[in-house]
Symmetry: D2
């Protein structure tokens, strides 16, 4: 995944945090916490997964399609910037 | 979480599988797999989290609100059964 | 839909607003507005649909399963209140 | 919205259908259909909105970022094709 080599350690740190959140769900089930508490923990895993998805897609766009910061064609640069903004709205 | 005591081991097995899927994402990032492959793994984590959420909510309804299988009031039993069916559609 | 008779006019007003938002998308396409603008309008339809869904499900719970405000069984009343709170988180 | 001029009539037909689905929800509420039926109609509006969103985003990518079918840079063409495929998974 060449576009993540550079940012590999940051992405790995993020996935480690997701794993920690999943382990918190396990501990909550073991400890027989209330339903609301367990579901809140599961909701935070879901939020973290959505954030990770968005970051991976953004990196894919920047590294394998068009990077708005370096693209010489102004139209494509703007198109890619708009795309990233739209995806931030939809993948939240 | 009284409604999960009975089903605790099944739910725990399910969360263990989610953790395994998160670890697969980590390994894919470490191994620098292609973007599409990593995102596919992340999508399967998301699917598993949605399935877990649905199961927890269903159990909550059956054990803490109304269990369609044992509720004596036919109207409430049907209302709870419809609710579960609707949530299966929406939380997928 | 007996649980919406009482709140029928409020729900209808809400659906009318959704229709108005869909018509705004049509006008934006006719007027050849920019992609970002059209997608923003579509995102607001989606948000309105999610809000409507949540309201319909909440009313279904209150009127056909357990109403936390009137249920004499304290455990069920609390279970239904927690359920509504959880669904507000997940269906947003 | 230059990328939709060409496909404008197709997109407009799609939005018209969404409006028809919203009107069906209105009629269902007026006719006091059962909760499950109304929610099913609302779910189909949501599905149609997600489909419209995906189509608008795909067209944006093809017309304003990179069109996999015509892009001379093979890496970018593949990157854009993978992006579209990933979004189809995530925006469903």
């Amino acid at each position: 995944m060449s576009h993540t080599i550079k940012d590999k350690s940051r992405l790995l740190a993020r996935v480690h945090r997701v794993r920690g959140q999943v382990e918190a769900v396990e501990r909550a089930l073991e400890a027989e916490l209330g339903c609301g508490d367990v579901l809140q923990l599961v909701a935070s895993v879901r939020g973290a997964i959505n954030g990770l998805t968005l970051e991976l897609i953004e990196e894919h766009i920047r590294h394998h399609v068009v990077d708005p910061a370096t693209e010489p064609d102004a139209g494509k640069a703007q198109g890619a910037a708009e795309l990233i903004e739209v995806l931030r709205t939809y993948l939240k």
